[in-house]
């Protein structure tokens, strides 16, 4: 699944580690989400949307 997590994180000048702490997950998991290796669970997706003050659909795109 495509996502704009890295783009949003960088625009907020957050490190992966800082975002991981905000979400309560590991930095490794943030990296895996950003690189598309791991599709996050619903609670993490909602937490990401909350952190970036946006909607889940604007962060994640199921792709073609």
């Amino acid at each position: 699944m495509n996502n704009r997590v890295r783009e949003r994180r960088e625009s907020r000048r957050l490190t992966q580690a800082a975002l991981a702490d905000l979400l309560g997950i590991s930095r490794q998991s943030v990296n895996a989400i950003e690189t598309g290796k791991y599709d996050p669970s619903l609670p993490i997706a909602f937490a990401l949307a909350r952190v970036f003050d946006t909607r889940i659909e604007e962060l994640f795109d199921p792709g073609a």
Binding site: R9, E10, R13, L14, T15, Q16, A17, A18, A20, D21, G24, I25, S26, R27, Q28, S29, N31, A32, I33, K37, Y38, P40, S41, I44
Partner: protein, 135 residues
């Protein structure tokens, strides 16, 4: 700056908690094992040797508890990686065990077989987890 290779505070806390759980058990295991091997008289005839040989199980249970508690602390993605590694390790140990079993039926003598199975399982776990982490 958006440095990406720094460590999250939560990661450090989880690692520290795991170390606090794991290492006392591991050190106790080493001490008990060394004591049993040195003074347990495992090659003797005393019936006590059966008790001594089972004694390292107690600290090993502590280590097991540490691993289970760690699985409860890590997040979904990390748990996924650990389980993939564990499944490779378990599968490897089972395949080696079955193959050795059939080989022994055919008359092959395999000295130290439990250690071979243990080693195969552990190597499978480590290699499996390393591959899962890189994918």
């Amino acid at each position: 700056m958006t440095r990406t290779l720094d460590t999250a505070h939560g990661d450090r806390e989880r690692t520290a908690a795991y170390n606090r759980d794991f290492w006392p058990g591991m050190v106790a295991y080493g001490v008990v094992l060394a004591g049993v091997l040195a003074w347990g008289g495992l090659d003797g005839t005393s019936p006590w040797r059966f008790l001594w040989v089972a004694l390292p199980v107690l600290p090993a249970l502590w280590v097991l508890r540490a691993v289970v508690r760690h699985l409860g602390r890590i997040d979904d993605y990390q748990r996924q990686l650990v389980f993939r590694g564990l499944s490779v390790g378990f599968g490897t140990a089972m395949i080696v065990s079955l193959t050795a079993g059939f080989a022994m039926i055919a008359g092959f003598t395999w000295i130290g077989l439990p250690w071979v199975i243990y080693g195969a399982g552990m190597i499978g776990w480590v290699v499996g987890q390393a591959i899962a982490s890189r994918r």
